[in-house]
């Protein structure tokens, strides 16, 4: 009985939250419950994973009106880390990310289209290596609700696939490695 009441209260809370105007969330950078990773095929034989350790951003989101959602992310490209110092140095150089010339990458959403229960296509402009191109991030709401410390959180994961050449990344890593998948796994704290 008590459980049911609690469930009803929680549901009511969720509905109430859903009816509010799109709330603003800040990426949980202090607690680092957010990751921007990438993966690219190595020779066609395995996945190479890497991450950007330093980034920040915000989003606004309303489960009832996903179309009104917005996302902004800024990545410090110097913070690229693939767990191999020599490779990371190479990735920062002119063969790949040119971080001395282009120290930041940004994503700014332009439109959000719901594609199902908790899923959406987030269209926006990605600026990477000085090149700005529209990309579509296929995103999924992983969960939202109160956290144990008095806050309210929502988490998403989204990914998009980029052609290296489209972003003027010169190094040719072979036929199996022309594209990289960018994976954003982000938890936001409601402001």
């Amino acid at each position: 009985m008590l459980k049911k009441t609690l469930a009803a209260l929680a549901l009511g809370g969720a509905l109430f939250a859903g009816q509010a105007i799109a709330a603003d969330y800040a990426i949980d950078k202090p607690g680092q419950h957010a990751f921007i990773n990438f993966k690219i095929s190595h020779l066609g034989y395995s996945w190479l994973y890497g991450t950007f350790k330093d980034f920040d951003g915000s989003f606004s989101f309303d489960a009832a009106k996903p179309e009104a959602s917005k996302v902004n992310v800024t990545i410090n490209t110097t913070s690229v880390d693939s767990n191999h110092a020599e490779r990371d140095k190479h990735l920062r150089g002119s063969d790949f990310l040119n971080v001395s010339k282009h120290p930041t990458a940004t994503f700014e959403s332009t439109s959000v289209k719901s594609t199902g229960e908790g899923t959406a296509d987030i269209t926006g402009n990605l600026t990477l290596n000085g090149v700005t191109k529209p990309v579509v991030i296929q995103a999924k709401l992983l969960g939202e609700g109160k956290d144990p410390w008095g806050g309210y959180r929502a988490g998403f994961e989204g990914s998009t696939t980029l052609k290296l050449k489209d972003f003027d990344i010169q190094k040719d890593l072979g036929p199996a490695s022309q594209e990289v998948e960018l994976i954003l796994s982000i938890e936001g704290v409601r402001q």
């Binding site: 767990n83 140095k89 190094k171 040719d172 072979g174």
Partner: protein, 184 residues
């Protein structure tokens, strides 16, 4: 000819070390310049950097030996015909070549060991990472390594031109001494 230097001529060991280091320095520069431009699918893509690092570590050891040998068996006196400024310039130049080489090799070591990996020397032994995880370690060490390599190679070229100038213009024994000739 003897192993040790005398006040008027270089011994065999100093001469061998000098030319060995010269060969290694120019070889490493060429190898380094070439390897960073290699195609990912080149068969040298992995072996060239291994070779560069292995030779670099060996060169470091040779340079340590050379420094110790220099203390134990000092270089011959400057030629009598060399004036004060020539002596000063040559001392400063040689000091810069020694110091620069050590900084160059240490910077290279700091790139490869920045994440704690050891450097393997031809499968014979490994040099462990002593300093790793400094902020931007591989990038800063990389810049130092690149710019200093160019500086030193240009400087070594000037060093060679100076020796040729002594040989062909001043017509003194500077260059020939590095092949074992006596001072006079």
């Amino acid at each position: 000819m003897q192993w040790r230097n005398t006040p008027s001529r270089y011994g065999v060991l100093s001469i061998l070390l000098h030319w060995l280091v010269a060969l290694a320095v120019f070889g490493l520069f060429g190898l380094g310049y070439w390897m960073v431009g290699l195609d990912y699918y080149s068969s040298w893509y992995r072996t060239a950097p291994d070779l560069h690092k292995g030779i670099g570590i060996l060169l470091f050891m040779v340079m340590l030996l050379r420094l110790l040998w220099r203390l134990y068996s000092p270089a011959p006196a400057a030629l009598a015909s060399h004036g004060r400024w020539t002596r000063l310039a040559s001392h400063a130049g040689h000091a810069f070549l020694y110091l620069g080489l050590f900084v160059l090799m240490i910077s290279g070591y700091l790139i490869s060991t920045a994440d704690g990996r050891a450097i393997d020397v031809f499968g014979l032994f490994q040099v462990p990472a002593l300093v790793s995880g400094l902020p931007s370690q591989e990038d800063i060490a990389g810049l130092v390594h690149e710019y200093l390599a160019w500086t030193l190679v240009i400087f070594a070229g000037i060093h060679a031109l100076a020796a040729l100038k002594h040989h062909f213009i001043d017509r003194d024994a500077t260059l020939l001494r590095m092949f074992g000739r006596d001072s006079d």
